[in-house]
């Protein structure tokens, strides 16, 4: 569907007319195209998953819109000022982060979002794979250009975990937990992973790409057996499907609010809020941080967002990276 094209306008009109039928004739007059052209557009919409009721004398009315990551659907649900206002939606690509990095080679506005129904090379940390089966999850990346030094940028990644937390809570009513640094857990299992990639000079960030993967409607079989003990999906936990479009729009809204807050007040309010939702603090942890293994009790988050771990001998050690177990 071309942005701002006739098809999108037809869809938008059918959406607003609700219960009322719109006749093919009225549509053809409005858009100054033949009734056959209208019929073709309707069928193209049907192919994309829209369901219409058509009546020979009355015309068409929209029954349901598909829960697909189509620009028209996302834009319809979106309530942000700038995040997601520039959208690149793909059916299948390697990785939304890689595509976003390619897009930054030209001038794209801050808040540009790349989504994919399926990733063939979804990425985790250190060359790990992120399983992203088709039309089941939210696999997307957000491009930000914060005017901060790279020194402070890791703190910014905390807004993404919080945004996913808030959005899941709003859409499903469940209250997920956060695991340091930025996983989102439901019932102790991971439903969301966040991988941020940055391009920066010594003193300025060129751009940040926040890659977010949310397991929304994945079935147990979509997850490899090796990760089932640690990972889950909203559908598995809630035993019902969740609207991906609605959830995406909500995540982007929360992300924009937290990003604006970060720009205005710095990281402190974000960290305070994050700590309240954190499942890592107070627990015994074992962290593989680079070539080092740290074992102890996760005591607090430092001002720079690193994890402070109290070791058995009473000393406190800082971790800036790592897998918490």
């Amino acid at each position: 569907m071309r942005k701002g094209g006739t098809e999108e306008e037809i869809l938008s009109l059918l959406r607003t007319s609700g219960e009322k039928y719109l006749s093919g004739e009225a549509l053809s007059k409005k858009f100054k195209v033949s009734r056959t052209a209208i019929w073709k557009h309707i069928h193209s919409l049907i192919d994309q998953g829209y369901v219409f009721e058509s009546h020979t004398n009355l015309g068409y009315r929209l029954l349901t819109a598909p829960d697909l990551l189509l620009p028209a659907e996302i834009e319809h649900a979106l309530s942000t000022k700038y995040i997601g206002r520039e959208l690149y939606c793909f059916n299948e690509i390697g990785s939304t982060n890689d595509m976003a990095a390619r897009l930054t080679e030209k001038e794209v506005p801050e808040g540009t979002v790349v989504t994919a129904e399926k990733q063939t090379a979804g990425k985790g940390r250190l060359g790990r794979t992120w399983i992203s089966p088709e039309k089941t999850g939210l696999w997307f990346s957000v491009i930000l250009r914060p005017k901060i030094s790279p020194y402070h940028s890791p703190k910014l990644t905390f807004i993404a975990g919080l945004a996913v937390h808030d959005a899941v809570k709003k859409v499903t009513g469940e209250d997920p937990e956060l695991k340091w640094p930025n996983d989102v857990l439901l019932n102790g299992k991971k439903i969301c992973g966040i991988l941020t990639e940055m391009k920066a000079e010594m003193d300025a960030v060129n751009y940040l790409i926040i890659g977010i993967g949310i397991n929304v409607n994945l079935s147990k079989n979509d997850l490899p057996e090796s990760v089932r003990a640690r990972a889950t999906s909203l559908k598995i936990e809630l035993q019902k499907e969740v609207s991906r479009v609605k959830l995406l729009a909500e995540v982007l809204k929360c992300l924009e609010e937290y990003y604006d807050l970060f720009k205005q007040e710095g990281p402190e309010p974000i960290i305070r809020k994050w700590k309240r939702k954190c499942a890592t603090l107070g627990k015994k942890v074992r962290i593989q941080s680079g070539s080092e293994v740290i074992e102890g009790v996760a005591e607090d988050i430092d001002a720079d967002c690193s994890l402070l771990i109290r070791l058995a001998d009473g000393t406190v050690k800082k971790a800036v990276t790592g897998d918490v177990n």
Binding site: R125, L126, G127, R128, S149, P150, Y151, S153, P154, K155, L156, T157, F158, P181, N182, I194, L195, T196, E197, M198, K199, A200, E201, M202, D203, L208, S289, G290, S291, E292, D304, C305, S306, V320, T321, G322
Partner: protein, 154 residues
């Protein structure tokens, strides 16, 4: 810069062929020199600047046995870490390193990744030249401003 960081720099010097290290950042200039006791000097500066080091190259083979090989000095620049994090020499544990010692790099070439809080920062070389020495180990924590690579500009 605190005493702990200065101590770390001294440690860095000990385990390396570097004989002299001069760092300027956060308004402080520090000069360390290996030999009969470390000399530490500090002075205030307006803004952090790039670190320039003097490093001896491998001794040139000498014809005469009794003659001490002349130490050739290389004017090197370092690529420093823009943030606190973990240093990775390759994109994945089983993947090839971005660069090896002796490699020629051009401006913009990715030399390593620094990670903090799942934020991966691909560090690019800002100079064209030869990687003389990799100053940190894979998986090692690094501090802000810590030299990662010594590059001999071409």
């Amino acid at each position: 810069m605190n005493v702990k960081e200065i101590k770390e720099l001294i440690e860095l010097l000990k385990g390396n062929e570097i004989t002299e290290l001069e760092i300027e950042r956060e308004g402080v200039k520090i000069k360390l020199k290996k030999g009969s006791g470390n000399i530490v000097t500090t002075q205030l500066l307006a803004a952090p600047q790039q670190v320039v080091q003097q490093v001896p190259a491998a001794p040139a083979p000498s014809a005469k046995k009794d003659e001490k090989p002349a130490e050739k000095k290389i004017d090197g620049v370092t690529i420093n870490s823009p943030m606190v994090g973990t240093f990775y020499k390759s994109p994945a544990p089983d993947a090839a390193s971005f660069v090896k010692e002796g490699d020629l790099v051009s401006e913009g070439k990715t030399v390593c990744i620094i990670e903090a809080m799942k934020l991966m920062n691909e560090i690019k070389s800002e100079v064209k030249g030869k990687i003389v020495k990799i100053l940190v180990e894979n998986g090692q924590p690094v501090e802000f401003g810590q030299p990662l690579f010594l590059v001999e500009p071409a």
